[in-house]
């Protein structure tokens, strides 16, 4: 099992769009390492001819009517929750920027 160093845990945090407090990288790295050590026991099982289970509901191709109009009022309620709103649009910081 891989030993998580500071750089690796920081990379994971970067991927998950979080930053870690001082000292937290070390403690979370240690936890993740211990948990991965535990879950590593699955490698003892032979699963070569087993198909994966994505969920337990034995269903496929569930369809519904395309009735978007009914959601109009709900959409307005969602828009009200925007932290930054301008003329009914979600406002965000610019996506492209120069450092």
């Amino acid at each position: 099992m891989s030993d998580f160093n500071k750089k690796e845990i920081e990379h994971l945090a970067e991927l998950a769009r979080m930053h870690l407090d001082k000292g937290e990288g070390k403690s979370l790295g240690k936890d993740v390492d211990a948990i991965l050590g535990y879950v590593g026991k699955l490698s003892k099982l032979d699963v070569s001819n087993i198909s994966p289970t994505t969920h337990s509901a034995e269903l496929s191709n569930v369809m519904r009517n395309d009735d978007a109009s009914k959601l109009r009022k709900k959409a307005e309620n969602l828009i009200e929750q925007f932290p930054l709103l301008e003329k009914g649009y979600l406002k965000v910081k610019s996506v492209f920027h120069h450092e």
């Binding site: 870690l20 337990s56 519904r64």
Partner: protein, 474 residues
């Protein structure tokens, strides 16, 4: 305690119909209890005092004006776990990141309860995003166990279980991903049902691990849980995994009950083992057939769960970006706004699971972890499938121990995860399971878990009610 508090759901219905008491009197009795017990227990994150009384008055007026009997849940007070949406109310899921959020719609289960005339008393505390087995991961402080306030109520639906345990509500809703209804029910001495995956719509439930999450009832007795389940279950177009359920009325059937020997191994406390075995013996004496069975992949279930759950949770929690709702930090650019909002909004356990989930899903590790875990999940499901060829039900403990002390396991995530060792296999297999109080160890409740075939909740209610008669009051 006033006379109305101990009444069951059916007794409430009878009393309201006969005008022995009003819905307002009943609601006020519970609100009084909440006021009295909350400083000690901290089960609620919000209490809807005004709207609860208003709704109760409406029901009293309707029953009087229409000269009719009360419906089965009409006027019955209920508490709702704070990861289930009630329109116009806060829904924090125990997280700071959702502190400013007001739910914009009713969850499917809330719609059903509202139509049935249930009265919402408030929202109950839980581990942040339902991640935990003790309620200590709530951003708003821990809930205390009613049987010993130095101990945890279990989790993540600890607020709902404690609220019932301390008589702040007769019934409640929780959610269960790997044991989050069953384990707190066991710790607080109440009944809790995790329905079959697909029996109850997840629409309006704040998602943790979507292939595992289910909403379910908590109650003081099996019959009350059954009534609640019958109201909230069934097909909902907004959750494509929900299914129509065919109810069959069962009356005191004699069952074949399987006992998996893998569930009675090292790690289980002596008192828990003794109580659960006594309950099984009592069922045998009452005429049910007991049969030893094997679930050979049990030892791998927890490891399997702690890959699948964080993987799904890290994906689900990607929606909390500080941009569209909830906590939003003002930063100079988009990326730092994401990072700042997520870092300040999420607590340690949530971040731990996001990092773990991100790792097991990253390229190069996916096959070794996530895909392998999904294959092991098939093996675990197959274990149950073949066991159910020979038996109708399976009986096990709910948790290896009784309620532990607040702070005891909070710094040791693996020790905390082991709390779920008897409940996660059932979640991975998508089966229904009920937790029923079966004894005590030094005043702390112990739970018996009974597992059924998919969509056979009626079997669980039938055996549960039979067991309660044998057991008597605890």
């Amino acid at each position: 305690m006033n006379d109305l508090i101990p009444l069951s759901v059916e007794e409430i219905q009878k009393g309201l119909s006969k005008k022995d008491f009003s819905a307002e009197e009943l609601t006020c009795s519970y609100l009084d209890n909440i006021r009295k017990e909350e400083p000690r227990i901290c089960a609620f994150l919000s209490v809807f005092e005004k709207s609860a009384i208003k709704e109760a008055k409406k029901i009293d007026k309707a029953l009087k004006d229409e000269k009719r009997e009360a419906g089965i849940l009409e006027g019955v007070p209920i508490a709702i776990k704070d990861n289930i949406l009630i329109k116009g109310e806060k829904a924090t899921a125990g997280s700071k990141i959702l502190e400013p959020y007001i739910a914009s719609y009713d969850a499917f289960v809330i719609e059903r309860l509202r139509n049935a005339g249930a009265i919402f008393l408030g929202k109950t505390n839980c581990d942040e995003f339902a991640m935990g087995s003790s309620c200590e991961n709530s951003a708003f402080g821990p809930t205390k166990n009613p049987h010993d306030t130095e101990r945890v109520p279990g989790g993540s639906s600890g607020g709902s279980a404690a609220a019932i345990g301390v008589q702040e509500t007769p019934v409640a809703l929780g959610s269960d991903t790997g044991g989050s209804i069953r384990q707190p029910a066991s710790f607080c001495g109440v009944v809790g049902l995790k329905p079959t995956y697909g029996a109850v719509s997840r629409n309006g439930l704040i998602a943790m691990a979507s292939s595992l999450d289910q909403i379910g009832p908590l109650a003081r007795n099996v019959r009350d849980a059954e009534i609640l389940f019958n109201i909230i279950s069934g097909k909902d177009a907004k959750d494509s995994t929900s299914q129509k359920i065919i109810q069959k009325e069962l009356k005191e059937k004699k069952f074949i009950i399987g006992i998996p020997k893998e569930y009675f191994v090292s790690g289980i406390s002596a008192d828990v083992e003794k109580s659960v075995k006594k309950a099984i013996k009592d069922l045998e004496d009452a005429g049910h057939t007991i049969k030893e069975i094997n679930l050979p992949h049990t030892a791998y279930a927890l490891a399997c769960y702690y890959i699948i759950m964080p993987a799904e949770a890290s994906s689900n929690l990607a929606r909390f970006d500080g941009m569209r709702y909830g906590l939003s930090k003002k930063e100079k650019n988009l990326i730092s706004m994401y990072k700042e909002s997520r870092s300040q909004g999420f607590g340690t356990e949530v971040r731990r699971r996001i990092l773990l989930g991100t790792y097991v899903l990253s390229s190069g590790y996916y096959e070794a972890y996530y895909e392998r875990a999904q294959k092991v999940r098939t093996l675990i499901r197959n274990d149950f499938k073949s066991a159910f060829n020979d038996v109708d039900l399976i009986a096990t403990p709910v948790a290896p121990t009784t309620a532990f002390k607040i702070g005891e396991k909070v710094n040791d995530p693996l020790a905390m995860y082991l709390e779920d060792v008897y409940t996660v296999p059932i979640s991975l297999a998508g089966l229904p399971a009920i937790s029923i109080p079966c004894g005590k160890s030094e005043n702390l409740p112990i739970g018996l878990q009974i597992i059924g075939k998919p969509f056979c909740e009626q079997d669980l209610f039938d055996i549960g009610k039979q067991y309660e008669k044998i057991r008597g009051d605890i």
